[in-house]
């Protein structure tokens, strides 16, 4: 277990900026998630921390020691690659034993630890196989075993679930979460999937186009994204963004959108009049069913035109006076043809962003 501090890391490839002034700290024994869309710089950052890439500027500090210029073999950091990077000409056993052999441990000790970790990950029956004889899920577990067999100071995971198919990913996520909780090691986990971040991590770092936009406990970052890109990255399905105008009418703030005018209580008086981007998560929009109060406050008419069911939930798309809205309904709901409905918007969940700086202005 160790603390990791990333200090003002910058990296360019050719002329392209991959990382720009990224700083954060991973606490000892914590599970931290590096969340960002593809090509945000996650992999480069992990490679710099592991030492197979060197930063143009900045330092990597591990337990008070500056390791920026130490070769990867002396860093004692484990990294699980997205592509698993299993050595194709070595059997599973030798793949897992590789870091132990590097340390020249006694062979009895190597055998014991490989057996332990492979039983823990339920791959002990595969030790005599070659990587090409394994399924995707098995390869992933071998790659994780090769990391966990070590006494590394910190374990880096680069999208280990991305190369698995959908069903396997769900199972692997649960398994990984259970495993990490029981291990009590320091983990930094890179992923583009907000669900990974919400499900597993103590801390989340949002990386976007090479910049660290926000960090903190996942619930906090999820509820109060500082930047519109954080809201976009950290939401599934993608958060709804609506052009809105704020007007002050008789000392009350009113938010004008193409499909609804929302009266705000007084505490938003800090906001000035003008254009904003209104953000509302798909699960904070609710379909109002027949029989319920049609004159319900903060509801508006919309035309549902597409639904699809995922498991026991539904993603729906609606058209509200020309604006497309995504809804995430916690139940199964199917339509065969477009349907006019009322949609209730949970005003307490509304976020307002500045149109220019893209920073959060409300709440």
């Amino acid at each position: 277990m160790a603390r990791l501090r990333v200090e003002k890391i910058s990296k360019k490839f050719d002329r392209e900026r991959i990382l720009e002034d990224v700083s954060f700290e991973v606490g000892s024994g914590s599970f931290s998630t590096l969340l960002g869309p593809p090509s945000a710089g996650k992999t480069t950052l992990l490679r710099i921390i592991a030492g197979v890439e060197s930063p143009d500027e900045g330092r990597i500090i591990l337990d008070q020691e500056d390791i920026t210029n130490i070769p990867p073999k002396d860093r004692n950091i484990a990294l699980v690659y997205q592509t698993f990077a299993l050595y194709p000409h070595m059997k599973v056993y030798d793949n897992i034993a590789s870091p132990l052999k590097a340390k020249k441990l006694p062979s009895a000790e190597i055998r014991r630890r490989v057996r332990e970790v492979s039983e823990f990950l339920n791959i002990h029956h595969l030790l005599d196989r070659y990587p090409r004889e394994l399924s995707g899920g098995e390869k992933q577990r071998v790659a994780i075993a090769r990391a966990l067999v070590r006494d590394a100071k910190i374990y880096l995971f680069d999208e280990p679930l991305t190369n698995l198919d959908y069903k396997l990913r769900e199972a692997a996520r649960t398994e990984l979460k259970k495993m990490c909780k029981s291990l009590k090691v320091t983990i930094l986990y890179a992923t583009p999937d907000p669900i990974d971040a919400l499900a597993m991590s103590d801390n989340v770092y949002i990386l976007f186009r090479g910049r660290l936009l926000q960090s903190g406990p996942p619930r906090e970052v999820y509820n109060l994204p500082n930047d519109i890109n954080v809201a976009k990255v950290f939401s599934y399905p993608t958060i709804n963004l609506i052009d809105a105008n704020l007007e002050i009418r008789e000392n009350k703030a009113v938010l004008i959108t193409p499909f609804i005018n929302i009266a705000f209580s007084t505490h938003v008086s800090a906001l000035t009049e003008g254009r904003y981007l209104l953000a509302i998560r798909p699960h904070d929009l609710h379909v109002v069913f027949d029989g319920e109060d049609v004159s319900l406050a903060n509801s508006f008419k919309a035309r549902l035109y597409l639904t699809y069911v995922i498991g026991s939930e539904t993603i729906a798309y609606a058209d509200a006076n020309g604006v497309t809205l995504a809804l995430h309904l916690p139940y199964i709901y199917r339509i065969t043809e477009p349907k006019d409905v009322r949609i209730f918007i949970d005003v307490s969940k509304i976020l307002l962003f500045d149109v220019k700086s893209l920073k959060r202005m409300y709440p």
């Binding site: 490679r47 197979v52 990867p72 073999k73 484990a78 690659y81 990077a85 590097a102």
Partner: protein, 275 residues
């Protein structure tokens, strides 16, 4: 119907190619059994009227064929080792590291191979004479090795590029140096490429004529291709039956070598074509 026409056309093409390749070998083979009289027959006989094994035996004794063999093997093995020793690190560097003018460096290396041997053979002759290295199969081996480095670099570079760098990186993260990663990960994985390149260079050195004929002088210093040419136009005229017998002896080791490693080769030569 259309598919059938293609099938027939393919079959004819294969038959033609097979004959194109095998007929000269067949003709060489049977010519070595012909008598001195019969090799001059017109039209030539496709099956000897009289088989004699005399020339198959005599070629080992009327000239230093054993020495030719030894010299050819020495030159071939040394050239392969030299070419590999220089082209593996060069190929690795060009495949894994980016540096200024990398493409130019690679192309320049390739142009060395375009050089016609006749253009450089004389300076090399003088050079070797000054160093007292003439007439030695080792010098030929070093020379062939140097000439074939570009082939090694270009073929091996494409092999190394097929190996994901993540494998070496992962191995370094496991706790090994880059050098160990190279020897334990990259080298075993490009083995088909190493086999293919070795065989190509061995075959090229085996059959090389111009350098060998000018840089060797004594009968015991010559290689097989030069030795074969010794049967041409001497006091006995063109002794085609002996030429063919020695030629056959000369190509047998190459055929055996290709046969032994044919599996690697089939994969090696098509590697990277289909991904």
């Amino acid at each position: 119907m259309k598919a059938n026409i293609w099938k027939v056309a393919t079959l004819i093409a294969f038959v033609f190619l097979t004959l194109w390749t095998l007929l000269p070998i067949y003709y060489a083979f049977i010519t070595a059994f012909k008598s001195r009289i019969e090799i001059t027959y017109w039209p030539p006989t496709l099956i000897p009227t009289e088989f004699t094994s005399h020339y198959w035996i005599i070629v080992w004794f009327d000239r230093p064929t054993v020495a030719y063999y030894r010299n050819t093997i020495i030159a071939g093995v040394i050239s392969t080792l030299v070419a590999l020793a220089f082209s593996i690190p060069t190929a690795y560097t060009c495949a894994r590291f980016s540096f200024r003018n990398r493409a130019d460096v690679l192309f320049t290396i390739l142009t060395f191979r375009f050089l016609p041997p006749a253009a450089v053979v004389l300076p090399i002759y003088i050079f070797l004479r000054q160093l007292a290295l003439l007439d030695m199969p080792i010098s030929l081996g070093l020379l062939y090795g140097a000439i074939n480095i570009p082939i090694g670099v270009w073929v091996l570079r494409s092999y190394i590029r097929e190996i994901p760098p993540e494998l070496e990186e992962s191995y370094m993260i496991d706790g090994y140096s880059r050098l160990r990663a190279f020897f334990n990960i990259t080298l075993p994985l490009i083995r088909p490429g190493l086999v293919a390149v070795s065989l190509i260079i061995l075959a090229l050195s085996w059959g090389e004529f111009i350098f060998a004929s000018i840089l060797t002088t004594s009968p015991a210093g010559k290689t097989l291709p030069v030795g074969i040419s010794e049967y041409m136009g001497g006091e006995w005229g063109y002794e085609w039956n002996k030429i063919m017998a020695v030629t056959f002896y000369a190509i047998i080791p190459v055929i055996i070598a290709f046969f032994i490693v044919r599996k690697h080769l089939a994969r090696g030569l098509t590697f990277g074509i289909v991904r």
